[in-house]
Symmetry: C2
Subunit: 419 residues, 2 copies
């Protein structure tokens, strides 16, 4: 697997020989090396630096484009594996994940679906089985919602011994989008769902034809959506174009992509995907099925694995989320758990959505461990790795949400560790 050997952009910018004292002065507003006395200095700096480059103020710029692209200087990418790719969380801002960098996970590749040929069938325990075209679905009353998705296997390395990896590699199977579609309940009403229907099979139109059983709980009936929109435009192919199921707070795979069929029933359908895989093996050898909710998790994204810090001011930043509702607090320790401080949460804090947290910090150059832990509005607090393993053992590949520890060595290198 490809791994990210680049250090963070700030270490690339600041030469290792830079004096910590000067950096501290700069960040305290002293700025002795950077302060200048008058505006003509700018022209001097530019003339010197730009001797080998085109001055963008001297040449007309590019014409408007019908569909834009990012700057060629921007290189952030997903980390690509065989059947998945992860979001570069360490490089992102805010809470919306750019659609081009939303994580992907598929079981037989990303299908190329012509939306004019795609259909959604609703059948089983309904009085009016129906087939919808995508355009017909778009005519229904719609709703939009900002929500995270997370693969149940995200952070799975937490179950094993700690490896020296980036946050993108360890935790990048989660992303947030603004989703638009129809409430599932609207479609079930149109199909005249029968009273006995308590479960629903959802089937994808990809070459894996992934199927999952969805319990029709009150939360699902209130919140589930059949989506065609993502971040303002159509779903991206990797996220299920032209239709996907969205079950806010539930593990990624049950948010079935390339959705082509919903079958109503009175019991779970026990598909391959919820028997041979996507179950949680417990210490006693039994497996939990339908452990669907992604419990609260928080991860510090900056600084994080394989970055390199210099002493001085840093804004610690991370994301927290809960499949149960809203994040209420995120506490951060910069001294390996001896003391904790409340991080600032970026508003708006939305339910079942990434929430960015920030804490100012001055690193003194000494070895330390930094961690974050979050609480959601059910009162649930993210567990330590130790307490999680005490209950869950280490047989599972899924639903790891233990506190992430980043060790900062004296040379500034950040490493993934277990404590």
């Amino acid at each position: 697997m490809n791994e990210d050997r680049r250090v963070d952009s700030e270490s690339a910018h600041h030469a290792p020989a830079a004096s910590p004292l000067n950096r501290r002065q700069f960040l305290a507003g002293g700025a002795s090396l950077l302060a200048i006395s008058a505006s003509p200095a700018l022209a001097g700096v530019q003339a010197e630096e730009r001797s080998d480059a085109i001055d963008p103020t001297r040449v007309p710029g590019a014409s408007p484009r019908s569909y834009g692209e990012r700057s060629p200087f921007e290189k952030q990418t997903r980390l690509v594996a065989n059947a998945s790719s992860t979001t570069p969380l360490q490089d992102l801002q805010g809470i919306i994940t750019p659609s081009a960098l939303h994580f992907e996970r598929h079981h037989n590749g990303v299908p190329a679906i012509d939306p004019a040929r795609h259909r959604l069938l609703i059948h089983g325990l309904v009085d009016r089985p129906m087939i919808f075209t995508v355009e017909e679905l778009k005519r229904f009353p719609s709703v939009s919602r900002v929500a995270f998705l997370e693969c149940s296997g995200n952070s799975r390395d937490g179950w094993d011994k700690a490896q020296d990896l980036t946050v993108r590699h360890l935790h990048g199977l989660t992303s947030t989008s603004e989703w638009t579609g129809i409430k599932l309940s609207t479609l079930l009403e149109a199909a005249e769902i029968r009273r006995q229907a308590t479960w629903m099979l959802a089937e994808g139109g990809d070459a894996a034809a992934l199927t999952r059983s969805v319990p029709l709980t009150d939360d699902v009936l209130n919140e589930a959506m059949v989506c065609y929109g993502q971040n303002g435009e159509a779903l991206r192919p990797e996220q299920g174009y032209p239709l996907r199921l969205l079950l806010p707070g539930f593990e990624g795979n049950i948010n079935v992509k390339w959705l082509r069929r919903l079958k109503l029933g009175s019991a779970p359908f026990m598909t391959r995907w919820e028997t041979a895989t996507y179950t949680d093996l417990m210490p006693d050898g039994k497996a939990y099925q339908f452990s669907l909710v992604m419990e609260a998790k928080s991860v510090i994204m900056r600084p994080s694995g394989k970055q390199r810090l210099h002493p001085g001011f840093h804004e610690i930043q991370g994301l927290a989320w809960s499949g149960r509702g809203c994040i209420t607090t995120v506490d951060v320790t910069v001294d390996a758990g001896r003391t904790w401080q409340a991080a600032r949460l970026q508003e708006p804090v939305l339910p079942k959505c990434h929430t960015r947290f920030r804490l100012p910090w001055r690193w003194d150059g000494q070895e330390t461990i930094i961690q974050s832990r979050c609480t959601d509005d059910t009162g649930y607090r993210q567990p330590t790795r130790e307490s999680l393993i005490k209950v869950r053992g280490t047989h599972s590949s899924y639903h790891y949400n233990g506190i992430q520890s980043w060790k900062i060595e004296r040379n500034g290198i950040v490493k993934n560790v277990h404590v």
Copy 2:
């Protein structure tokens, strides 16, 4: 200028010969033509329809990509003019505008700026003039905010006689993004702004070197940002890569892109851009300067100009926004103003941000006019075109926010009209 001659997707899908009765039945849940009796029907439909196409369930899909793209079946574009392009509002979902479709407006093209060479100078009435690199700016405490931008010339056709144009053409110079950067006040503190500083010149690093004077009001000091992030990743080139000023609620051009200089002063700088242009010519021949706030506006996006409706159910959708704060209500009329109904506002409703509104409607096939009008949390209500012109005359090119009227003809064609 290119114009959009395509009709909306639903009219492309539904043949003109389709029976209104059947459509109404379908939308009422009757679905006589669409209901099927059992799941094997699906296989039949697919086999027939896909005889000339690859069945995506029978071939492995594409591999993960490091940076994704939209489906090749999606064709929405900005409408490109000489020095601007407009967002295809009629095709979008939710409130986040995809960065690739954010409107653009520039005065000498989009510069290609190497962020490693770009600098921001802060000088004038400060005790510590400073030059920052982009990487240095990213080390400051940061903040994210979802906010709309709107060109002051958006909707300018409203001042003239009504032309038969699309909503993208008429109102597409507005978009919404999640912006990330530093609070302006943080930078001004670092530069030790002097007490006498009440205005600030902002200068772009493009080939127009656009300059605007920013009044340092409490709102500006509380809300203004120097941004480097847009929708999770770096600013797009058309929106100011690598740095732009963000003044939530103010007209687009003063949110200076490709920002390279902030000069503090005690009076407006009276630049070309606020004397020769970007002023509001009043009926008496005098010009208002520094009319910076974009007042509340709402526009129905679907149905809108040049689309074609069929009788039956439609969800009316549009966007409303105010440079003063939050949208509190949007009322919609479907009978040319005789009666008004409150539209449903999509949560979260954020200040100085697009707010999507929706209203279910059954078109009876008769000629009518539909309109929306919004109110913001200052109590301001969007004016009729008539009342706006009574005060402002028709000499201005800017700040048109009158109520938009869409006439629906008996043949279903939607036309921009003034009433």
